[in-house]
Symmetry: C2
Subunit: 451 residues, 2 copies
């Protein structure tokens, strides 16, 4: 009889509150500023785009926020998710470390994104909004929002970066299966899209353009809201369901974590997994919470902590973030997602205050780690998640070298069944590493706004 591998919670063990890290940050978290006045934005500034329920969550200082029963009922579609002891990986690495992974790939769209899309659509539904709009790149967030909109009977309009729309059709199919309307961006349906198309009829699109289209449509339609899949405080809040389940599951396993790792792009995956352990980290400084980012988009490890725009055009409020500058674009060779130029304000504040650490990994080692995980644990991880797996494996090797039996917990945010073309590139040997020269990073930061 082998050791227990899977630590499963029952249906009624889903946490009933979200965890708010704000009261646990010694220096708090600087507020968003209005780009014109440079004064903190108020709820009224956000009302055109977001429902009041979410705006309240964006600003609350309550240590926990009740999860409505209707949301928990929807979470039950796939939650609680498993925590698994990676016995195969441990054996392959010949490490005295105990490695556990939390697996969010069991969600309907194969990633953690539904943890926030469900509550976002719920609060929109409560206020009578009948439509949600968003942008999506490869489609992780678009698919999650499409699912949530379908669950609550709202229409869902998604602008998908045109090059992904045509080259990565898998998640587009998923969005359509959930009844959403998916348009390649730039599209002729919006003023922003028409303007781009007039100048560049063959534009491949970008997240920045797609955001403009989705925001424009939501702002003009009083029955519609815009929805964002990461970065904002309420998105991180929703994702804390993950870390709180991990806590219960580690208790089941009789473990106290030494190192917890998750990949970080906008920050919602890392934040939801690790920030609920900030109070533990305060009490026990040996606990390491590690954000893992791509060397091709290193906002925490190479950016600065400054007020910046969330979008390329400069329409959003100014957010205090670790940022590479809003004009920063990862190189086309980068295949593994996590492309946002900055890190969420909450994760950035925790980093600035020394509560978490960060590391970056290169994409060839990321895919190598992903294949090792696939072969030993039998799960093809999303390229994004594989960044964290790569860093976790390095920690396990360190444990072997130092003879330490640490408890390593890694968040596997999703599966890679819809990312097989990236794996093919790696297996074909056509993926290259890229690290920015310092002057290129500095040039991107020249775009930072004066505050």
């Amino acid at each position: 009889m082998s050791e227990q591998r899977r630590f499963l919670l029952s249906d009624n063990q889903i946490p009933t509150t979200w965890f708010n890290v704000k009261p646990h940050l010694p220096n708090g978290c600087p507020p968003p500023l209005h780009p014109g006045t440079k004064q903190p934005v108020g709820p009224e500034d956000l009302a055109a785009l977001f429902p009041a329920g979410l705006i309240e969550q964006e600003t609350t200082l309550a240590p926990e926020v009740d999860i409505p029963g209707e949301i928990i009922d929807k979470y039950r579609l796939w939650r609680p998710t498993p925590l698994v002891r990676a016995v195969g990986l441990e054996r392959a690495l010949d490490t005295p470390a105990r490695i556990y992974y939390k697996y969010e790939g069991v969600s309907p769209v194969g990633s953690h994104k539904t943890n926030s899309s469900i509550p976002q659509v719920y609060y929109n539904m409560l206020e009578g909004r009948r439509r949600v709009t968003t942008e999506t790149g490869a489609g992780q967030w678009g698919a999650a929002l499409a699912l949530a909109a379908e669950q609550y009977g709202l229409a869902c309009d998604i602008w998908m970066v045109k090059v992904s729309y045509h080259q990565k059709p898998g998640r587009r199919t998923l969005m359509r299966a959930f009844g959403a309307t998916v348009r390649p961006s730039p599209s002729p349906e919006t003023e922003a899209g028409r303007r781009i198309l007039a100048e560049h009829p063959d534009s491949p699109g970008s997240l920045g353009i797609a955001i403009s289209e989705a925001v424009e449509v939501a702002a003009q339609d009083p029955t519609a809201s815009y929805a964002l899949g990461s970065v904002l405080d309420h998105v991180i809040l929703h994702q804390t369901i993950v870390g709180q389940e991990v806590r219960l599951q580690l208790e089941m396993a009789g473990e106290e974590p030494d190192v917890m790792l998750a990949c970080a792009g906008g920050g919602s995956n890392f934040g939801g997994f690790a920030l609920p352990f900030v109070p533990d980290r305060v009490k026990r400084p040996g606990l390491r919470l590690v954000a893992v980012e791509p060397a091709a988009c290193p906002s925490l490890t190479r950016g600065v902590y400054a007020y910046d725009f969330g979008d390329m055009i400069g329409l959003t409020p100014l957010l205090k973030m670790h940022t590479l500058g809003s004009q920063f674009v990862p190189p086309p060779v980068h295949a593994g997602g996590l492309r946002f130029h900055a890190m969420s304000p909450l994760v950035s504040a925790a980093y600035d205050q020394g509560l978490i650490e960060a590391t970056s990994v290169k994409q060839r080692e990321v895919f190598e780690a992903a294949l090792a995980f696939t072969r030993t644990e039998g799960i093809l991880p999303a390229p994004e998640s594989s960044h964290a797996i790569c860093a976790a494996m390095k920690e396990a090797v360190r444990c072997r070298e130092e003879g330490k039996s640490e408890c390593i917990v890694v968040n596997v945010s999703g599966h890679g069944f819809l990312d097989t073309s990236s794996y093919d590139s790696y297996l074909d040997g056509t993926l290259e590493d890229y690290e920015y020269p310092a002057e290129e990073i500095a040039a991107a930061m020249a775009s930072l706004p004066q505050v």
Copy 2:
């Protein structure tokens, strides 16, 4: 608090024996015959292709067969799999029926096929074979065998039907990720492949050709075995892990099933799920075990029960099966898998002896049902599995019309994340139904061998 949705077994509740239906078939199961002598084949006839451990399982009459601990340990990579109450689907159908689904899509390759690939490679490893070969169409079985070979350190050579190799690369990537060598078939590596290529350089390939290539290589290499993903008795035996878990989970739920449904192509999925309930069916004739097949490949509902070849070329032993004739090929428009011309001998015998029933469904209603399931249960099912979902939904509607609160259990054999192009065809309105004219079926059956 809503009703319990998920019925989860713990790591140590994986069944420790496979279930053998043979002793429960009142008239037994006719043996395979040698195509030349028309006499029953003996173990020695099979030894060139299969290891003794599997040949013994192919012929045993023991009511149960112990599962070696090393196999159970590998099964723990993804087993036990969940049984879920489909509360969302029940609500959408407004049915008094209680619908449960067993979900095999959590396996490393997203389908039930690993239940047999693991033991098949294990017994090959025990006898010192160092290589397994197989054919694959869209890649379900190929990916499963690749995973198993990787787990036990054997080489794995897969011949993949050329048109699928190029048009459905997702599972090819998975096979590569597990370290297998995948060749488009027909290939220049075999005599069979070279012969076809000489005549038809642009041949898109077929399962029949790919089988010939894989068998040729295994037969010529004493360190290699051929492995088959369905049809044979030992494959069905391995798959009974599914039905036995379902039994435990239905007990947890306090349920006794009224109707159990699974899709049937070669028969391993249906057989593994339903045949363990044959003894229940004998005691309680009200229990219905329903095999669901596509109208485009209706071996049980429109075939005859006769001795036939397993392959198109006529190399295999003769098996007593419900068959459409070994020259039968489903129409190109058929998108949903389940393309084998006949049904496994064990499932065929159970059908012939009135222990199970069969029904066929058309592909447009299958994809319509799949989308209803996706929208209500949050899982994109494999097109194959969706045949069973479609039939289960019809049963639930019947329950509503008749005011009956029956317990319906359906096996969802895999997920559809690697089948999104078929969903696109349906959503685009380009999928058509096809039903064979009677004379076409009759013509295909003219190829049946004389026994």
